[in-house]
Symmetry: C2
Subunit: 412 residues, 2 copies
């Protein structure tokens, strides 16, 4: 596959368009990052941004809710919207011929939603249902608790909010939030696929260049929760979550951090898989991943295991994390590099993956990395670089949460 050509344009109001042109595809994907994530929710209105994200689709521009759904489905659009810590993410994938009409519709959804008062309660109910669904899934419930304890407020918030606060949300609070947080300033639209750049820029300009508004101020950081905790629940498995600090995307040793996690958890020969699952048959699922926010990187680990093996699973997992800076073999590093690069190339063939990555890149770096740049940076890391990085940023100071019938012993 030829390297993608990347175009970038920032309009005077702060709105950014980045676009990756991919040959030989008929589809196009887009990702809007709007600065309307969970961290911007009012402290007594947690979950507001999730309610709003459903509400904006209930009629916009000249179309009511039903007409809008029909229009989008009639474009063959696969929608994918969610609220993350920093952003409301509105994404879609469709045939590239239909991209201009989809952008017309999304300009209405973002800038001119009807927000009909009589439908706010439906949006609220759906978010309450999502919360209930999360409550029924011990893995999700555990990871929500892990983030809440690991990150300082408001970075560890559950985007679905809190039941009582959702129930109390009034329509004017949500409408006001829309006015402020759905704004052009630092909003990013990434497009990947087959398009004519000049026409795309012109279309986006006509829809978003004259929009006005300032990004809401960055919330002040509070404190994090207690570092360890247990959720008592009668479950078939015991679920374990571990978090520790790492470096963000802007950090010079970002690729070292990614490779370190790949040594732990890349493929079936990763250390966690080998030590916890293959050698000891301790659990069905064990994994670690590198998670980034603008100012920090974090490694999030999860293991699900039988209650009688949970303590051993926790002990073995922590031991693997702690001993990572001691030694890494050339073979382990080579495999980690191959794994990361293969994922990259496969992502490079998907318009959906590329538009999401381009948007994220721009948010963190003010530019989009090419696949070659990433590949070169990964290749350049040596075993000794990697160990230096791990000694500077060792896995330590863990946040540990478990969920199950019995509490585990947390080693010091």
């Amino acid at each position: 596959m030829d390297p993608a050509t990347v175009y970038t344009h920032q309009f005077d109001n702060g709105f950014v368009l980045v676009a990756e042109h991919m040959e030989a595809v008929s589809s196009a994907s887009f990702t809007f990052l709007l600065p309307a994530g969970a961290k911007h929710d009012p402290p007594d209105g947690l979950g507001l941004s999730s309610v709003l994200l459903d509400w904006v689709f209930r009629g916009a521009g000249d179309l009511d809710s039903r007409q809008l759904d029909s229009l989008l489905d009639g474009l063959g659009l696969h929608r994918d919207s969610s609220v993350a810590t920093s952003h409301a993410v509105l994404g879609g994938a469709l045939l590239s011929d239909n991209l201009p009409q989809a952008l017309d519709a999304y300009a209405d959804i973002i800038r001119r939603p009807h927000l009909p008062a009589e439908q706010l309660d439906f949006s609220r109910q759906l978010v309450l249902q999502q919360l209930a669904s999360q409550d029924d899934d011990p893995h999700s419930k555990l990871m929500v608790e892990l983030r809440k304890r690991h990150f300082p407020e408001p970075l560890g918030r559950n985007p679905l909010g809190v039941r009582d606060q959702l129930s109390a949300l009034g329509s004017s609070t949500v409408t006001d939030f829309h006015q402020k947080a759905y704004c052009p300033d630092q909003t990013i639209l990434a497009v990947a696929g087959c398009f004519d750049w000049l026409k795309l820029r012109e279309k986006v300009s006509s829809l978003f260049a004259h929009w006005q508004g300032q990004i809401p101020p960055e919330p002040k950081l509070g404190s994090a929760g207690p570092k360890t905790g247990h959720l008592s629940q009668e479950t078939a498995q015991t679920h374990i979550g571990i978090a520790y600090g790492s470096v963000p995307l802007t950090h010079p040793s970002y690729y070292h951090a990614r490779l370190a996690v790949a040594v732990l958890s890349g493929g079936m020969s990763g250390r966690l898989f080998t030590e916890v699952r293959e050698k000891r048959g301790l659990c069905y699922s064990v994994s670690a991943r590198h998670h980034i926010l603008k100012d920090r990187g974090t490694v999030l680990c999860y293991a699900g295991t039988a209650p009688e093996r949970a303590q051993q699973t926790l002990d073995v997992t922590l031991n693997e994390l702690k001993r990572l800076p001691e030694a890494i073999s050339q073979e382990e590093l080579d495999r980690a590099k191959i794994g990361l690069k293969a994922s990259l190339i496969m992502q490079g063939e998907s318009t959906t993956a590329r538009s999401a990555c381009a948007a994220t890149d721009y948010y963190h770096l003010d530019r989009v990395r090419s696949l070659d740049e990433i590949s070169d940076a990964v290749d350049a890391v040596t075993v000794s670089d990697l160990l230096d990085h791990l000694r500077e940023f060792p896995p330590t100071d863990f946040t540990i949460v478990s969920l199950g019938s019995e509490k585990l012993e947390i080693p010091c």
Copy 2:
């Protein structure tokens, strides 16, 4: 994207190679369908095929378990293996340059696994853990129960089996099963991506053409479970599953059946979404999908909702299913067609989706449908054809299962 070129070759021993050549990709994906699915498990050894699927990866050919994992990860292979009703499915995606080495390894895994007795218990424990994880997920647990009740034995089996029978499995039983069910007769290998057909056929011939063995006999069908049931459990949501009969892929009105489900559940303007979720805010998740086995098609529906709204959700959903044959508008059909065709084209850009579809097509039809053929067949369906189909095969004779704290009333 250019239409893919499809190649097919059947070796004398019954092994089939199908390959879709895709221009402009660097990746390749493969899918093995081996006739070693859950329906072939011995009646007192349910879950055997899942245990075996883990066990075959614990060393094969000249490599022990660890060396094999290292080799596969060193190829940048993303593995994806699972047991379905009819098959063990061994799939992978990687850079096309590494495809020949991956096929070498998979020939060993399939034909020459070590099946080390001392590791059987690890494989067993992992399947037991997967079962526990399924037990902790009410949605999965419900759908397992729905299938068990809807399909005649052995078609409704949970591929993960039954706890007590898993615990009792001896290594010779599993080894014998491997001897019989991992066989060339009717095994399908599908490849999609960038490759040289003659070289690929030569490689696959050298690995699989001289393999011998007959497919195990098709199990006789028994009876299905009671049509309705309730699993009593304290959950935040009530979970509802509904199943009813449809037509298989070989049936002349297969595309009618797919379009009927798309009218119910395609996008946000589908009837279930509109009537249950958008108009009434009744639940977070409601969907229907068309599921095929060789001799039958089935529609599987799911809804997750608040306990106090569960009865209404069930009533409204059943009402939408029952009234489907009464009328369908041209607009609904047009949207359903666009949705299906957009999905097709987007799948056509993914080597993983294409290799899986090619394998499934060959299993059902003894050939691979082109995207154009599917698109033309979808286009040809008229509203009146669709209603005729629905009157011949109306949604009726429902299997209904719920999971939650209170039992629902099942309407006659």
